[in-house]
């Protein structure tokens, strides 16, 4: 039985890694020869969860070629966010909670998407449907993913299902949700020792919008000013990314996880589209977005609409 690689998106966050680990485990229990891998190294937030639950970080791969032609995707579907040779591979399954775009297959497949806050919430449902017991370590990675994606239930993407799933998994993982959750989120806000280039790449995704190529990065912080003090350095790095990687527009979302709002910093073409999308006037390339914490629900659809 040939190997099946299971992975989340590029620049993996805690759900991309946690859902890969848990879904690969579930599929292995169901008799498939799966291995969880990752399209990048874990963030400090994810590494906190891996260390806490004593789980090895998944092996990092850039392509599947030479290993296998069978893959399962979690927490993404858009090809430009996936493994480099995705178009050459046979996609057996997808479990995701994002819009569907830039995705196609030649054959029927298993696709499970739900508009919930976290892929791991759907994976929990699949464990139950298949009557597979969840080990403590796996539950720990799953609840960490839910905490991360919902910013401890404060994101508008969070549903009652996510909250119920997190509570159920927290019991198995033997953690206190609030205490563990805030510690884990704070572990991901240590930005001061990172270069602007690394900071822009921590959690970044590309989206074709109209005929433009838009890069949208997000960083979490407990102090907006700590990041905004580096605006000049960040702008230079964003300009450099735009010209070297052919992005037309670079949007950086700086999210305060304590107050649940964000500052946008944008560089590139089509700044008027950004202003239209959020009904704001950019000043010094910046705009404050009250109550905005979710790229998926509060940034991507609005920008997509403005570019359409």
């Amino acid at each position: 039985m040939s190997k099946i690689l299971v992975f989340g998106h590029q620049n993996p966050d805690t759900d991309a890694i946690g859902a890969a680990i848990s879904f690969a485990y579930l599929q292995k229990e169901l008799g498939k020869n799966t291995e969880a891998v990752a399209l990048g190294t874990p963030s400090e937030e994810t590494q906190y969860a891996l260390d806490y639950f004593n789980v090895d970080a998944p092996r990092v791969v850039e392509s599947a070629a030479g290993e296998t032609n069978q893959v399962m995707l979690v927490d993404h579907n858009e090809f430009q966010q996936s493994i480099s040779d995705i178009r050459e591979l046979n996609i057996l399954a997808v479990v995701d909670h994002h819009r569907i775009a830039n995705f196609e297959t030649a054959d029927p497949l298993y696709y499970r998407a739900e508009p919930v806050g976290c892929t791991s919430t759907i994976v929990l449902k699949m464990f139950k449907e298949n009557n597979v017991t969840i080990p403590k370590q796996i539950a720990g990675m799953m609840v960490s993913a839910i905490i991360s994606d919902t910013l401890l239930f404060k994101s508008p993407t969070c549903t009652q299902e996510d909250i119920n799933a997190a509570n159920e998994l927290a019991d198995i993982a033997e953690i206190n949700l609030e205490g563990y959750g805030l510690d884990m989120l704070k572990a991901g806000t240590n930005l001061s020792d990172k270069s602007a280039e690394i900071l822009l790449d921590l959690d970044a995704k590309s989206f074709p919008m109209g005929d433009k190529n838009v890069r949208i990065a997000q960083v979490n912080t407990v102090d907006l000013n700590e990041v905004l003090d580096r605006q000049e350095e960040l702008e230079a790095a964003m300009e450099n990314e735009n010209s070297s990687k052919n992005y037309d527009l670079f949007v950086l979302i700086i999210t305060n996880i304590l107050n649940s709002d964000s500052e946008l910093l944008v560089i590139g073409d089509s700044l008027n589209k950004v202003e239209a999308a959020f009904n704001v006037t950019l000043e010094n390339n910046r705009a404050f977005l009250n109550g905005v914490v979710s790229r998926k629900k509060q940034v991507v659809p609005q920008l997509t609409e403005a570019f359409s």
Copy 2:
């Protein structure tokens, strides 16, 4: 609460109509304001099932505009097979068993696809997951859809899940699977009183392949020669369709439901791609395909590969 239209693909078959009826019923039981509609009138096979179970044919619509902007798709996802204004609509859910292609959304959605033989098999699973009882009439339409899509379990697309689902639904619908199934399939093979144009449109779907636009129609018969005797008339109608609707290639699959094999009749460009796809030599625009009954599994992937 604004209305949600639920429908299957253009040129609806028994699953497109049966799954729309059953999924709309399920969603209504779960509190949604759904209405099952259809993108065309029922075939004689589907009408046999509707009459048998005393179910009204769904209202036929060409667009959703003016009624609602919310829809749920069953038994298809590709936009060119869907309602005419699909790109303007908000797709809340998809339940399907085909490849995913030419499909995208701006927002996260509920998407449930499984590589089984029939959409209604997946819908049955969803009834159970939600603890909703299936009325006899609904079960009757669902089992009819499974019989239709799997040609009474003879298609290679048929899985053990489809067989189990059909048996379970047959009990609720109070039918004998073999007896009812063959009667229903035969009701769809009455081709002699139909013009070539109507015959080509009974169960036809379009597929972009490479830079070509390929139309693939399928008819069921209990006597291949009854259809092949009309080859000249069919070819003229296929040529006419190609030129009036900009198809580059028209493929007609004439399937003998008793022997479970098919004759291909093809008109248009790229006939060498057809020969390569099925490893056959066309003679008189025709080729016999032993054991081939499934467009989805035995025709579309092979042609897609030949055109890629």
